[in-house]
């Protein structure tokens, strides 16, 4: 089995049949992580515990008693999920060195099924950002920056400019997780999605990024950004694998009162062949001003694809789309101001040396612990929550949120099954260009296509579609009905099969893959 393999269809079978052992798999992933260190995708690599988990998994396979499809599978987790005994930093000085005493429910579920936790991935500080560039451990580099596909297409602007400064961003805020999956250092990764933080980097890194329906997967242990919009996100190599992860994570959690009570039945995705009964909606408001002509073309082509296959493709309207960013800013910053109030240096995390008074200690701790982006959102949020502003901002935004959610209800009620939209405005920007604008500006721009799904709590998925002129991934987004993940993923899987998105060609991975399992090489490329 090769590191490029798909989880369910390839690696899982290989483990079961003994063609590869969990320990080998783990070791190779760890080695690849080391050699791709320049990507800065991982904040913490839990080498010892991962190898131990792999050994335990191996024992189970030897006895013929694997826990399930995830047993022995190396995975990575975004560093805003609590992992007992392994540092959880949220890429912030506030939590540097913080070792949580408990596992997030989703982490526990993965471990209970035998998954091997390789480490914690990099992100924008406290998940605030759309580039994975604003964490204290530095930016994450998009693996595609080092791909043959990108290098072939990139024209050096001057001969003094070398490869180093040309690298492109992963998108954010779950950039580390996306990069980890994209560079084959793990078979799946957990991200989080509040305004697009799983789908955006998935699109830029050419991987599948699933945002489940709000209330389907437990948030217990996910350090919150916006409690009413956050969901754990799933990043995988293919839609099938996303379904596997979903099946292992979804379901009511008594520790999270916002999860639904209904039983969740994990499903296997059917191989859809006939799309004639499908109605695809194309929301016209998603043809936003900043959308690159390239992506517009890819989007149109995709719509054509469905039409030619017999599906009904209709233009629909989500009239309140243009208010979603402003609405998001008010509600997000208000919740941020509230959620960050607990970081006072008293119980855990960073505590300033300032001792003059409790208040001065709070102020110094929070100034030292948070970056500009976090502090900016806290100040804005507190402003919106002031008694004299509450009605005009917070309550108004809640009302607008209801309107945005109703837009989707109306469209789905009219007979549309799935919406098809672009995920991002363009392919990944070079880092040097991206940082020319501040975090708030970039977030406002980049969230426009993904944010509304969080407002409405709907499931949405990015499917890698094609390469851009620059040789970088472009993805398209499917948005489905509440709790209809099966339908959403079935359609996404059909689409994935049609577009046959190319595998990234990375030098490092080739090196790691060659050698021991030569005879498996042919099976590793789909």
């Amino acid at each position: 089995a090769a590191l490029k393999d798909r989880l369910r269809s390839q690696v899982s079978a290989a483990l079961k049949e003994g063609r590869v052992t969990p320990t080998e798999l783990c070791q190779r992933c760890l080695a690849l992580i080391k050699s791709t260190k320049f990507l800065n995708a991982y904040i913490t690599v839990a080498e010892e515990t991962a190898l131990k988990q792999a050994e335990e998994s191996e024992e189970r396979y030897k006895r013929g008693q694997p826990l399930g499809i995830l047993d022995g599978i190396p995975i990575a987790v975004k560093d805003n999920f609590n992992t007992a005994g392994i540092e959880t930093t949220c890429a912030s000085n506030m939590l540097k060195g913080y070792i949580s005493p408990y596992n997030a429910t989703v982490v526990q579920k993965l471990l209970d099924q035998g998954a091997v936790l390789l480490g914690k991935t990099n992100l924008d500080e406290f998940a605030m950002g759309s580039g994975s560039t604003d964490g204290v451990f530095g930016p994450v580099r998009n693996p595609w920056s080092y791909s043959k596909q990108y290098k072939e297409k990139s024209v050096p602007k001057s001969h003094s400019e070398d490869e180093e400064s040309n690298w492109v961003i992963t998108g954010g805020s779950s950039g580390g997780s996306a990069a980890a999956v994209s560079s084959f250092t793990c078979f799946a990764a957990l991200g989080s999605d509040t305004g697009g933080s799983t789908r955006n980097p998935a699109a830029h890194c050419g991987v599948v990024g699933l945002k489940p329906t709000y209330g389907l997967i437990s948030r217990h242990g996910l350090i919150p950004l916006v409690n009413s919009m956050d969901v754990p996100g799933i990043l995988t190599r293919c839609v099938d694998d996303a379904a596997v992860l979903l099946g292992s994570l979804a379901g009511h959690d008594p520790k999270d009162s916002t999860t639904i009570q209904d039983d969740f039945k994990p499903f296997e995705l059917p191989n859809l062949t006939d799309v004639s009964k499908l109605s695809i909606g194309i929301p016209k408001e998603y043809h936003v001003p900043g959308l690159s002509s390239e992506i517009l073309a890819i989007w149109s082509k995709a719509a054509e694809l469905f039409k030619n296959a017999g599906a009904k493709v209709v233009e629909v309207s989500l009239p309140h789309t243009r208010y979603s960013i402003v609405c998001y800013h008010v509600l997000c910053t208000a919740e941020v101001a509230s959620n960050m109030a607990r970081f006072d240096g008293l119980e855990y995390g960073h505590r300033s040396d300032m001792k003059d008074s409790t208040e001065s200690m709070y102020a110094a701790t929070r100034r030292e612990g948070f970056n500009d982006v976090v502090r900016g959102r806290i100040l804005s949020g507190n402003y919106f929550l002031l008694k004299q502003n509450y009605e005009n901002y917070f309550v108004k935004a809640q009302k607008v949120r209801r309107l945005i959610a109703n837009d989707f209800v109306k469209v789905f009620r009219s007979g549309v099954d799935i919406l098809l939209t672009p995920t991002t405005l363009s392919d990944a920007a070079p880092y040097m260009e991206f940082i020319q604008e501040d975090n708030r500006t970039r977030s406002a721009q980049d969230d426009i296509l993904t944010q509304a799904a969080n407002m409405a709590g709907l499931p949405a998925i990015n499917v890698p579609t094609a390469l851009s002129e620059r040789g970088l991934p472009v993805g398209l987004q499917f948005i489905g009905r509440s709790f209809q993940e099966k339908q959403l993923l079935t359609v996404a899987k059909w689409f994935e099969k049609q577009v046959q998105f190319p595998v990234i060609q990375l030098e490092e991975v080739k090196r790691h893959d060659s050698g021991v399992f030569q005879h498996q090489k042919s099976a590793s490329f789909s």
């Binding site: 999920f81 609590n82 959880t88 949220c90 939590l95 949580s100 005493p101 408990y102 997030a104 948030r219 217990h220 242990g221 996910l222 350090i223 919150p224 916006v226 409690n227 009413s228 008594p254 520790k255 999270d256 009162s257 916002t258 208000a334 919740e335 101001a337 509230s338 960050m340 109030a341 607990r342 970081f343 006072d344 008293l346 119980e347 855990y348 001792k355 409790t358 208040e359 709070y362 507190n382 929550l385 002031l386 008694k387 509450y390 917070f394």
Partner: protein, 463 residues
């Protein structure tokens, strides 16, 4: 000088009697080692979420029903933000928009002019009852310039009961709180012991002239007993009147009651210009309660709270218990108040009545005048009484059978207090307190006395 009308309202925090806290599973216990009852959620560890404790909701519903409130079938939770060492999350979860119960009333009784014989019933409106978290405790160690924080209490469930400003003086406030305390203890929804911090009372006080709008009010905190409540309220009313009559103004401030000096002093302006930035608690869905009518057919009984079910199971409230005592035993209403006011006294009384032939109307005198005054003198509770109900019953039986006089009975009681284990009969024999019933014997004694005092007798006969 125009008369002043004092106006008193109360905000009462009652700690809910439950095994675990309002939103987490850690234990509720008084005086445990510091920080030994703290869950991850209580410590505000990032990523933890609140989970509502069913028992706390039931306690609030019971209390709401006992106070004649409308129970809101849908109530909401909010975050109230401020920074303080004993508030780990930087916000308290409370019910600001829609509390669990509203618009109730509490009836309480007072003696007019300190005479037990004349009691008057008053009513105070209950504005609302809301569920909220208690904070931890912080102790300021000034010598070492440090603050010690104990989070054992952080997150314990509270019922905040808001009483409208329908009271006019310390006595009324005290009587209202006392009655509330009895109700809570009867329901079991709170142990309501002020000394253990299970019942905390803040008073809102203002004064105005008749016909004029209400005056500026002050909030008085740091009141540690019902007795101090009356004192604090009366002091504050007086202070405000004097201030205004001297041409001064009343500030809308928070004052602390100093029990040593018996006065109120301004507190550091902690709350004055605070904006709590209330925001809905996003991690808790609206709290939905059902009644028999609205209960969905196939709902699991374990999953829901049925208000009617709780209503049917409410115990007799103090007012009902008093009525029953008056009816059953023919005692006076004011007697029933005293009986219920002392923990265990009503049970003691009923126990004595069962074991004696003496009429309850007579027994009550012995309970309220003799037993109770002795207990008060020695600061004992009924449970700690050295005289058990059986012993007292035995004594009263001797009296009832005319084997001793009532004077003798009181002397026997004095002996019994010593708790030396002697029975009333033994004491009577020891001290030769038996009443002589025999006519002939009595005549002989009288004759003997007269015979021994001849001169005095002659003097008496002659006038």
């Amino acid at each position: 000088l125009a008369p002043w009308i004092p106006v008193v309202g109360l905000e009462i925090h009652a700690q809910i009697s439950s095994n675990s806290k309002l939103f987490s599973g850690s234990q509720v216990q008084f005086a445990a080692p510091p920080n030994s009852l703290v869950s991850f959620f209580d410590a505000s560890l990032p990523g933890t979420l609140p989970v509502l404790n069913r028992r706390c909701v039931e306690a609030a519903v019971m209390t709401g029903l006992a106070l004649n409130c409308s129970i809101n079938k849908k109530s909401l939770f909010d975050r109230k933000h401020y920074f303080y060492a004993d508030l780990p999350a930087g916000y308290q979860i409370t019910q600001q928009r829609v509390p669990i119960a509203v618009n109730g009333s509490l009836s309480y009784s007072l003696c007019i002019d300190n005479k037990m014989s004349q009691m008057v019933t008053k009513t105070v409106r209950i504005k609302q009852i809301q569920l909220e978290q208690d904070s931890g405790k912080s102790l300021h160690d000034d010598t070492r310039s440090q603050t010690l924080v104990d989070l054992n209490r952080a997150g314990v469930g509270l019922m905040e009961v808001v009483m409208e400003p329908d009271m006019c003086c310390g006595e009324e406030a005290a009587a209202a709180v006392r009655e509330l305390q009895l109700i809570l203890q009867t329901l079991g929804s709170s142990q309501a012991v002020m000394a253990e911090g299970q019942l905390r009372v803040d008073a809102n006080v203002s004064v105005h002239h008749p016909g004029e709008p209400y005056g500026v009010r002050t909030e008085v905190k740091n009141i540690n007993s019902i007795r101090f409540l009356a004192k604090a309220v009366d002091y504050e009313i007086q202070r405000q009147i004097e201030e205004l009559e001297n041409g001064g103004t009343i500030l809308n401030e928070t004052r602390a009651f100093d029990s040593k000096l018996g006065c109120t002093v301004p507190m550091r302006d902690k709350e004055g210009k605070q904006d709590y930035r209330f925001m809905p608690e996003p991690n808790l869905p609206p709290l939905i309660l059902y009644d028999a009518k609205s209960l969905p057919a196939n709902m699991n009984h374990q999953q829901v709270i049925n208000i009617d079910w709780i209503h049917e199971r409410l115990p007799d409230l103090p007012s009902v218990k008093r009525e029953k005592l008056v009816e059953q035993y023919g005692i006076l209403p004011e007697h029933s108040f005293t009986l219920l006011n002392e923990d265990g006294l009503a049970e003691f009384f009923e126990s004595v009545v069962k074991q004696t032939q003496m009429k309850p109307k007579k027994v009550i005198g012995w309970i309220l005048n003799d037993l109770l005054s002795y207990l008060k003198q020695h600061s004992l509770t009924v449970k700690e009484s050295p005289v058990s109900s059986s012993l007292l019953a035995d004594l009263l039986n001797l009296l009832e059978k005319k084997e001793i006089s009532s004077t003798a009975a009181k002397r026997v009681l004095v002996e019994l207090w010593k708790g030396e284990g002697k029975t009333p009969l033994e004491i009577v024999k020891e001290q030769k307190l038996e009443l002589l019933q025999d006519q002939k014997e009595l005549e002989q004694i009288c004759q003997a006395v007269i015979d021994g005092q001849e001169n005095e007798v002659i003097m008496m006969v002659l006038g």
